[in-house]
Amino acid sequence: MKSTKNESPIRLLVSAIVLFEAITLLLIAIKPPFLNTEALMLAVALPLLCWISTILLPKFVPMDQLLMALTNFLCGVGIIILYSIVPERGLRQALLFALGLGAMMAGVLFVRWIRNWKTLCWLMIPASIGLLLLPIAVGVWNNDVKNIIAMRWFGNFQPSEIVKLMAMLVLAHFFSQRRGIRRKLPALLFVAACLGVLLLQRDLGTALMYYLTALAMYFVSTGNGLISLLGLVGAAVSAVVAYHIPGFAYVRVRVAIWRNPWDTALGSGYQIIQALMAIGSGGLWGLGLGLGLPRIIPAYHTDFIFAVICEQFGLVFGVCVVLVYVALLARGFSIALRARRSFYALLAFGCTTLLGIQTFVIIGGVIKMIPLTGITMPFVSYGGTSLVSCLTLIGFLHGVSARIEADTEQDIAIVEASEDTYDYDYDYDDDDDEYDDEDDWEVAEA
């Protein structure tokens, strides 16, 4: 087979990412009045981690280098932005990135080596519901949403981020069953239960992600356009109902500030106006790393981090970040299309769709394309659970990619074995009763 190792654009891609990380962190390190040694250490550690995970690690663990490189770039941008604003947060994010890489490895091996998913998926269903119920019992309210648990040493923990990993596996397993709606029912009930708990937490952003991903996976697995369309209509009706009922009054506020934030410029529309002003003031090339006023934007480190990127690095760089997400999604869908078994295809499709919806919802909200929903920007926003779960999703994609490589090797072996044994002589004699033997087939009651 033709080797493409030398032709691969990996070296220049990784060099560009390493250079970006090193220059930005060096700039932060030499910022007057004193030399920041911590940033200097990070300027060495982060590019090194990028190089190890993209070039060295795939030699030992089966991984997709393009996915790894793009993930490194996005995580790097997040760490640098956070470090330039609040160094403690940036440092914590870098540590969580290293932890997330470990989780990614686990995800790769999990998908690569586990064959029997049935028992595991049945166990994941009650575990997921239990995890989702935890914040209702012991969680804390955060911006009208009760979806996190505050831990003294660990920090905030968001169970719905971990549950989305399990949900992908459960949905892929049950939707890959080709035996009608009855076999898919546990997955549908599971999604319904998850949505119910998320509504109790008032976490509409996460509920939207779960619902749209499940719907897309259902459509892809069954090809049933009518039910999928009904699902979409149902979602639209639910959104209208949520808009009108008093329990979800903040939905009405979000829609109002989306339509015209200037009405409440110093109230609920303040954050979106500040985000838009930050993007505008950045211009094409940005105000320069560390020179803007990102702290003015509320939730600058989580929901509105894309506005900070545009302010500091400019619109050109912001568009590049969006295009990197597009490339990441294109790679994910390409992996899903190449998978041989429906379980792996659905898993890759689900993980990619989930990341795509999450990215679209948050970036669309920040640039006022759609009403703002409080979810994190994958790989970039500050948040340990989100970063680790997104990296694990990428780990699943790596695992599926590794399976595809193994399947291609099998194909080559089959062709070679075929060439060794027969030369595809299919002049089969219809009168030959060699295969009419009763032993060649068997019927069994299910």
Partner: protein, 172 residues
């Protein structure tokens, strides 16, 4: 370094960052295109990649189907005339979704979809039952008679990886 010089340096660095961002996007796009071409090349070198054999049409004539046709057979999927089927048998007597199949180490597992009529080697396959077909087995769907022809090297699959144990009650 004074604050003024530092600000000048940061302002100049903005263009470098934008350039590096463009390079990342450009190389990623090139990688995707190159990978697509390489996949096409591999697929052209392995025309049967992803398939375990063919279903040879012995009987059954329609506008889109004629005897001696060979339908490529993937490792698992649906058999029928519907657009979503993995193996499309375009014949008026074949249902949109007629049967489900899955290749395992012991052969091709075939099961009728709902209550569709199916015969394996001349024996009717009752609803809810599963047949295990090997090379040369003949299946009849409506007015179409098909013969299973597995690739000679398909047995190599079993040498690579053992299939997971089937669920209890799924087959004998």
């Amino acid at each position: 370094m004074s604050q003024e010089y530092y600000e000048l340096l940061v302002l100049a660095a903005r263009y470098v960052f934008a350039l590096l961002g463009v390079i990342v996007v450009w190389r990623a796009t090139r990688w995707l295109r190159q990978d697509y071409r390489q996949r096409r090349w591999v697929m052209s070198a392995l025309p049967d990649a992803g398939y375990i054999g063919t279903l040879y049409v012995m009987e059954g004539q329609s506008k889109h189907l004629s005897p001696d046709d060979s339908l490529p057979l993937p490792t698992e999927g649906l058999l029928g005339c519907g657009a979503g089927c993995d193996v499309r048998v375009l014949h008026p007597t074949v249902s949109r979704r007629h049967a489900m199949f899955e290749f395992r180490t012991d052969g091709l597992h075939l099961r009728p979809y709902r209550d569709e009529r199916l015969q394996v080697d001349g024996h009717p396959l009752p609803q809810g039952c599963e047949a295990i077909l090997n090379h040369g087995a003949i299946l009849t769907l409506g007015g179409v008679m098909l013969q299973l022809r597995l690739f000679a090297g398909v047995q190599a699959i079993t040498a690579f990886e053992p299939e997971p144990e089937p669920a209890k009650g799924e087959r004998a």
